[in-house]
Structures are given as structure tokens and as C-alpha cells.
Symmetry: D2
Amino acid sequence: MTVRVGVIGAGMIGQDHIRRLTEVVTGAAVTAVTDIDAARAAEVAARVGATALPTGADLINSPDVDAVLVTSWGPTHAEHVLNAVAAGKPVFCEKPLATTAEDCLRIVEAERAHGRRLVQVGFMRRFDAGYRQMKEVIASGSLGAPLIVHCAHRNPTVPDGYTSAMAAQDTAVHEIDVLRWLLDDEIVTAQVITPCATSKRFEHLKDPQIMYFETANGVRIDLEVFVNCQYGYDIQCETVGEEGLVRLPDPAAVGVRTAGRHGTAVLQDWKGRFVDAFDTEFREWINAIASGTGPTGPSAWDGYAATVITDAAVRSLESDGTVVTVDMKPRPACYGGTA
Amino acid sequence: MTVRVGVIGAGMIGQDHIRRLTEVVTGAAVTAVTDIDAARAAEVAARVGATALPTGADLINSPDVDAVLVTSWGPTHAEHVLNAVAAGKPVFCEKPLATTAEDCLRIVEAERAHGRRLVQVGFMRRFDAGYRQMKEVIASGSLGAPLIVHCAHRNPTVPDGYTSAMAAQDTAVHEIDVLRWLLDDEIVTAQVITPCATSKRFEHLKDPQIMYFETANGVRIDLEVFVNCQYGYDIQCETVGEEGLVRLPDPAAVGVRTAGRHGTAVLQDWKGRFVDAFDTEFREWINAIASGTGPTGPSAWDGYAATVITDAAVRSLESDGTVVTVDMKPRPACYGGTA
Amino acid sequence: MTVRVGVIGAGMIGQDHIRRLTEVVTGAAVTAVTDIDAARAAEVAARVGATALPTGADLINSPDVDAVLVTSWGPTHAEHVLNAVAAGKPVFCEKPLATTAEDCLRIVEAERAHGRRLVQVGFMRRFDAGYRQMKEVIASGSLGAPLIVHCAHRNPTVPDGYTSAMAAQDTAVHEIDVLRWLLDDEIVTAQVITPCATSKRFEHLKDPQIMYFETANGVRIDLEVFVNCQYGYDIQCETVGEEGLVRLPDPAAVGVRTAGRHGTAVLQDWKGRFVDAFDTEFREWINAIASGTGPTGPSAWDGYAATVITDAAVRSLESDGTVVTVDMKPRPACYGGTA
Amino acid sequence: MTVRVGVIGAGMIGQDHIRRLTEVVTGAAVTAVTDIDAARAAEVAARVGATALPTGADLINSPDVDAVLVTSWGPTHAEHVLNAVAAGKPVFCEKPLATTAEDCLRIVEAERAHGRRLVQVGFMRRFDAGYRQMKEVIASGSLGAPLIVHCAHRNPTVPDGYTSAMAAQDTAVHEIDVLRWLLDDEIVTAQVITPCATSKRFEHLKDPQIMYFETANGVRIDLEVFVNCQYGYDIQCETVGEEGLVRLPDPAAVGVRTAGRHGTAVLQDWKGRFVDAFDTEFREWINAIASGTGPTGPSAWDGYAATVITDAAVRSLESDGTVVTVDMKPRPACYGGTA
């Protein structure tokens, strides 16, 4: 059975996922596309033999659409996801699930009312081989209880439009999600500290930032977010447990010795770093829909949690680094697990 | 356009490639299956909605088959490939292209007569990301001319049926192919040396073996083949040039510190090591057929060369390690390049 | 010229340094030993042909003593160092310089009054090859201004007598000193956070602890102190600058592949980790005295600064992790530099 | 007790060892120096308070000399060593022990006649921490019997005077000695192969060379000698056993990430690579003499064996790479062990 996907939002990320669904992942077809720019929707749809539709609502309700992919502008996510849930169709929503915690909660509520999971949020790190190996090691218990996690998230540069709050909202949000999942634990406080800023960024931006999180089980997380580090795209994560530690590998790359140096290339781009994770994310999503099990990736609740924690971090940033308690609603039983 | 593939040989490797063509690679469908065991053909065909056909010839000539995949028993390869070429259909043949140099040459001749490439041989290492990075570094000239290549090919164990000659024919053949391509150079002599044998192998088997190859340009290659090394599946390759060297990375894996050791897992299986290479190999093959460019991977000539070089290595093994000159016919112009 | 050293305190560390001065470092002789346990002093002195003297004051004033090494119980350090300064003799004092900031300041004052440096404090990391390489990289400016430092200091276990305050006083103090020197910057705030404690420690102990420091230039330091980490003795340090980072290497050790793992041994002991640094520390100290240049290693001021910063960290620990401002006197000009 | 050393040969290496004996190693003094250039002898002697003597014989027989260090021109080694043995004094001879196998044997004979070991040959790799760890791993039996050793010995460049034969005599001789010791096995054949020569060397020189050795136990060794590799001084060694392998580490060095690369420095010089080995070599030699146990490092027999094996390699080089059997006399029982 081929899963017929309708795509809302045909911008760069939407087009990349359309390529993924049509050229990389088997078992899927893109049958409908919509975009605020109708011409773009038409053009992108034509490329893959899909129909361009005027609105998200049209697309969601189209009989040719089995599942919905939301890659439109963030503020529109909630509406499309709610419509999809109302239509009873599986929906994959790129992060964020919604731009406010309240809207996330409305989606959680709608899904709970619907009775089974329909929503998956686009946190791709859970599909990365390194993080999966790390989770396996932690879950095996061979390191004892986890106590501390050290992380770094570095980009070579960001464009002018990137704001200080986006360090939490757009960048750290990936660690926030993956750490909740890795540790099977919930984040309860957030704090954001600003070292001396690099001179190599736009004047308005606080960069780097250091974020500290505490979990319900007392695990302490430190996360360096440095989005103008110049040298490359670099993701580090080390979990320290009672009897040992586990560390994410650097991506495999040939080693070269020349002119007095042994060196390996550092990636410049998140796409290269997580291309396999994206592919796996969509492969598993399509398989889950095709097999009728429903989505198994990050849930609406995870989308809500990420937003609430991100909000806490931004509040800390805006109040000179005070420790902010994460104000999260009780987790509905239907979402299972702890985090 | 979907490329309709017919598969000759529904054993383990055939089934794995059928899974790949139907579940991993987009743009392909398996429409016909044949096997010496008709029941197995029927069963495997049924799983993917293909038709089971009685013979390879039937399959090749079926109007529902655009391209042929040969994964049957080695001695049957030549016949199927020749039939496919006669039918003017693209054919992917798992290694070996044929079991004798003569049969390989017949295929080369047939393809030359046909006028354009139809045949691709299943040497997957050319599709491995590490080897591709290595080739890029060598081709960039930043290391100067290559002079020496050090390789190791280790398996944890092999079954009883594995013979001493298979160290060249089944194991080293992968390095033979990938090094010709890496260096863009031809192998002209082969020598096989047998150190003290490990006690951890079947009595009849000479293991490990060390193979030395010399290329037309004077590059010297040493290759350790050790198929009962116990500890894991481990592929090493280092190319030394006039100004530096480049080394294949170990597969990325989490590092774990516990009980006085820092460790990473070593793979146990070639499938894990080269799964991405296999996927890329078929993705590119299908794309090449769909786009009409014809196959771009290892050619019939490469299959012939690998067989001739392998034969030389076996002859050296059987004559106590004498240096054996590779007796290769002149390379037809239509195959381009050097190696 | 042989430097004749008198040693105050013949316990484990004193004996190890006596071995170093007599068997490892050239140009030195141990001529006098004193200890609160006269019998031990006599025994240790006899081993190296030195004279056992009843008190530190006797030793300091002995005409056979050119330079003094203080390795006695911490609370006695100040008195011996002050006496040595009064006698105008070079004195090497194992950490801490004194147990209170006030006593440290008295030494600083005495040295200043004396007019030139006589005191060196036993912070050996400044003599470690890895830290020296790191300092060179930072000082070269190739990374731009340093912004963040990530550190870990892990011991496999500690004895029952180890208290929560000792995590700062005995353990983190090494990072405190070496980071001031690495960055050529002063620490201005300290904060100590306690994650969930490991179950593998004595009940009274808060372990691990995470320490955050801020410098005058706005560099943020995070330091994990984990003294019952079980797996080994492990020192990590990474300095992130505006254009890149530099990371301390793990000690060189053979790599072993066996039974599905690639592994290297992790040291179990600080002595193995820093043996070369200790040797270099004493070699340079003896050379500096012999050549008449006076000590060039960590100064009395550095001993004072380490104590004041350590005090701030302990105060933070005891007040539930509040940020404590380091209350440091102005740096006397005679100590040069920034930190 | 201070060991009084007389040094024959005050050139670069002699002066470096004099520095080592006077500034690095305790328990030694240099009391006499001789050199073919009397003025140089006088100058070097004056620096360390030693007496300049006219000849090696004078020095060896001086009552102020307990032990002799031979660092003169190679062809004079045999005479000085024989004189020292005749005088019953411990003698450390820089490699080679003698320039011919015959002269080496005369020394072996003289020492045997003397009744106990007096001679140590300057193969410093046995004192390198990495090789010692490797030997420990091999000797532990955890890898099973060793089967294969892969080595590389690379220098950035060599001066014009370096000849093709020196690749064996001066360069590979270090591996020849250390491998006999590592494996506790004897080398029985040698073969030297010349790949395409690098364009970056003097015209007369065959560089790189690949050497193959076989041991009495059937272990196969391959050794790349590449003395104009441009990029650095790089020593590699990997021993493959029946159940796993052990690999020499690269020297510890800080890792730097900048401008899209993760890199570490490669050493440019053998002195930096083996400085600790040299120090340990002399420390142990002096301690062995002081304690009366006699030298425990490489023996006259090892010096003989290295010369015989080196001769075989040169013969192979000069006969187009034929396999040359090592013509070694039976090992006198007094030298113990196997190799």
C-alpha cells in the first residue's frame, strides 16, 4: 500500500521532504501540495505529479490524501494539525508543533479526544544512529543511573534574522527533545547564561549561550549553544552515569595526514549531519502509517513539552539568567512513559 | 518512471536485494522472479506481487522486465548476463561476473558488440562513503602521486565450506576492485603469502593470507586477509602518497568508558559495515536506468579484471607464493579510463 | 651547582618528592628532613643520606639547606613558608599554600616585603604537556578570544574521609589554578550545583558536583567534579574560542581490538596521569634556583587566589548553589600578568 | 653511588647523551670525554667538568671511568667496545654495534669469554612506553599467538648523504630490533621491494621501500620505510594475533577544531617522538650499573642480529627484491631467550 501524503508548505524544508518522500523513502507518494504562494505550490506539485490545492483545509480533506505533512510557517502549524486531527488523518508536523504552549495543549487535547495518536513532531535526532546507540547503552543499565549530560550544539554561522531567543526555540529545542527521550525523564528547570559574546556575530545577538537544565530525577544537563562558532556544524553529547559514560561519535570521515597535521573534515551543515536521521524518520513514519500502528516518533505531548521548556529557557534568558521552573501540565496517561 | 526488475536467483542475497528494491530504493518494482527452486521463486515472488517464471531466459525476455538482477549461483551468471545483453536489457550481476576469465571476456565482447554498456557488477565498495571520500582526496592531487596502499580485510569467522582460494575469490576481490577504481590504475602482478596459520580455523584453510599487488604505475599494495580473526568484521585501507596519506575511518559508534576501559564496538558483520553502500549502489543503478544514461558502476570489464587478478592470486597461493603476472587482455576503448 | 633541599613533612607525598629530587631530577640533593614523627624523619633521612632535624625552623635555618620543600600537614604550611621567606630561602609548598585566605595574604605580604619571589606552590598541571600545548594554542590567537571552557575531573573512588567541601578544596583547585593560567584571566564568581548523587559513594558526600565559574573577561567555565566515577581517573578540558576550540588529549595508550571491542585503557590514578608534570615541575624549580632566576611556577599570589576562589565555591555549595562573588584583594604589581 | 661515565665521540649525538647524563638522569657523572677532534673534546669536557683524553683507549682505562659510552663514528665502534670488554667495564654503544657482522661476532665472543654481560646497544624503542604496553599485551596471551605485524617508519625528509642501503641500516634497523624483542622471535628472511619512487627525493635514492620479514615462528612482518614522506615523523606498528590486535598509539597532542577541520599536530622529528624512550634507556642503564646487575637492554647479540638482518635486507635491495635468508650463527646460551 502506498501512503498518499499531502504537503502543506512548499518552501525549502517542504521541498526537501517531498524529495525524501518521492526519491528516498519507498511506499509513499505525494499527491497534494498547498502553499501560501499558489504559484510555488503549482510548480512543486507539478514536479512530482501531485495536485496543487488552494488551502490546507482543502488538502487535509482531500480524498487523495492519507496523511498530512505540515512544513508551513510556524504560526500556522496549530491550525493545520488541529484540522488533520479533526479529519482523523495522521499528521507529521515540523517543529514547532505550535508557537505557544496553549496551542500545543489544544492539539494534545484534540488528540486525546480522538482516542489514538495521529500526530508526530519533526524532532529527527531520535532517529540518529549515534543517539540510538547512546539510548541503548543508557537503557541497558550498564552505566548505572544517569547523573549528568554535557552537550554542545554549534553552527558555523546564522543569518541576520536569527534572534537570541531562537537559540532556545530553534537550536536547543533539538537537545531538549532528544534528552527527554534519551533519559526517559522530564526537564523541570531551565537557566540560560550568556558568556562574553563572540565578536563574530550580529550585534543584536547573544552568542554563545549556555543552558542548564535539571530533570525530575535530578540529572543536570549543560548545553553550549554557539551558532557562530565559525569552524563547523558540531554536535556533542556525553552522558555520565554512576559507573561510566557514553559519548556520541563524530561523523565518520577519512583521516588525512599532510603538512604536519593529522586531520578530518568537520561538517558545515546540519543537513549532512542528520541526513540519515531524516531519512529514517520518514521511513519509519510511512511504515507506521502503512502498517496501521500509528506514529511512534515524537508525540504531540513531546511537542508541547519542548515548547514549555523552550519558553522557560527564553524567560531565563530575558531575566538575566535566573533559574526558571518549567510549568508543565500533568502528562496524560495516553502518552505513556515518563518523558 | 518505475524500473521493473526481474530477479534471477531468490536465495539469501537475492531476497535481500529484492527487499532493497522494494522497501529501500524508490523508483523500482520487482515484477518477476525465477529460481532453480520453483517453490522458492513462487513464494518470494508472491511476497512482492511479482510473477514467478520458470527460467532465467523467460524472465529476461518478459515484456514486464526492464532490467535484470542476477543473484543466482556463480556458475550460472555468465549465461544469464549474456542473455540479458542479447536482449538489450540492463543487467546487474552480483559478483563474480563469471567464474572464468574466458566467460567474462565473452560478456565483454557481447557488450562491445551491442555498442553500449548494459552490465554492472556488484562491487559495492565503490559506493561506500569512506572510499568515496578517499577517492576524492587522492584525485584532488593534494597527496601527490599514490605510492603504497595498506589494506586489511578481516572477518570474525567463516563456515567450513570456505576454501583457501576463496580468500582471493570471495574476500580480496572486493579490495581488488575498489583499489583499481581508487587508484585509477591496473594491477599487474599478484603474490600470496601465508604466515603461520591461526589455530582458530578449519584445518584445511590457510588463514590469514597476505596478498601483495603491484600496479602499472608502480604502486605497491599489501592486503591482509584474515577471515577467522575472531574479534570482528574490520576493513582498513590507507593510501600513502608523495606528500601525505589518507585512511578509511572506522564506522562511527558511541564511545563508552566503564571499568577502566574506553571502548567502541567493532562490527561483526559485513552487512552492517556496507549496508549504506548497498543501498546507494542500487539507488544509483535504478536512477541510471530510469534516466537512460546506462549503468555507471563497475563494468563488465571490471568484472573481467577482477577475475583475472583473482586467478593470478590463486595461482600464487597454489605455487607457494611466487609472484604471478596478471595476464589481462588489452582494455577495449569503449570502457574508457585506465582501470 | 647542586641545590640542597630540606624537606618538611616526610609522609607519602613528601617521600615521593624526595624520590623525585634524588632519583629523577638532576642538580638536587636532599640534605635535611623533618617530620612531626621524628622516627619517620630519621628513617627517611637515612635512606638518602640526609640529616633528620627536630623542627621546620631548624631545617629552614640550617646552613646545609638552600631551598625548602613543604609537604607537611596543610595547617602548618603557612608557618613554614613564612619562616622560609623570613630566611630568604626559596620554598616550594605543596598545595594549599595555606588553609585560609588570610594566611595566604600574610605570605604574599611577606614576599612582597622581601622584594622578590621565593615561593612556588605545587600546582603541577601547569607543567603538563597537554595543558602547555593548549596554552600555546590559546595564546597564539588562532582561536580568537576564549569564551567557554568545559572541564571534567573524575576519580574512580575516594576514601571515607573525603568531604563535600574537598571537591573544591582538593580536587577542583587544580582546575582553578590551571584555568587562571591557561586563560590569563581571573575568576570572579563561583557556583556549585549538586546533581542527583551517585549511589556509589559514602552517604555523607555530595558527589558529583558541577562547578560554574565566570572570569573577569566573561569566560564561562563548567567543571564536573566526580570523585567516585568508578571507571577511572579522567581529566578533560576543552576551551572554546571565537573561531575554534582546543581539547586536551587522552593519555596515549595502545589500542586493542578483541572480542568485538576496540578499546584503550583508562588510567586509574592521578600519579600516572601527571607523573611527567611532577617531574617537570621539580626539574624547572631546581633549575630556576640553580640559575638564580627564582621560581617561575605558580606564585604565592596564585596560592592565595586559588584559596579565595575555593572558599567561594565552598560557600556556594553550603548555600544551595547560590552564585558567590570571589572577594579577592587587588593583585600586587610585583606578581605581574593578570592571573 | 654515582656512575662515572666516559664518552667516546663528542658529536651531536654524543653531546645530547652527555646532556642527558648530566641534566636528566640522576646518579651519573661524565668524567672523561674523547673525540677525534681534540678541541671539540676539550670544549665539551669543560662544559661538564670532565677531563678531555687523547684516545678511546686512554678513556676506557682511566680510573675515573666506571662505564663507557660509545658515540663515535660507526666504523670505530667495534674497537672501543672490544677494549671496554677487555677492561671489564660496562659499555653502551650507539647503534650500530659494529659495521660488519664479523666485528659484531667478535664482540659477542669477547663478552662470552668475559663471562657476563657488559655491552648494551642503543636501540631506544624498547624503552618507549607504547611499545612496552604492546609487549605486555602480546605477552599476556590475550591476543593468542601473534601472526602478522604491520609497521611504518616515516621521516619528513633526509639529507643528500642518505643512501638506499641506509633505509635498512639506519632506519629499519629500529623496527628490526624492537620486533625481535616484541615477538620474542627471530627474523629468518628479509625482502625489500621498491614501489614507484617519490619524486620528492634525491635522484639516487630508492624511497619508499617496503620490507618483508619472516620469523622463525612464521610471523610475517611488513614495514614501510618512507624517509621523504613530507608530512612528518610517523611511527606505526600493529600486531595481529589469533584473537585480536594491538596498535601503537599516536603521540598525545591537543585536538584543534578550526576552519572546517579537526586536527592534531604530527611530529616532525624523531627526537620529539622518542625523547622519553632515550631518557628511560639511560636511566635504566645507569641504574643497572649502579646496582651491579649489569645491563638489561639490547645486548651484543641483539646488535649482531640487527646487523645480520640488516645485511640480508640490503642484499635483497641490491638483488631486485629476492627473498634473502638471514645467515645467523646459533645464539649462545648466555644470551638467554629466543631473540
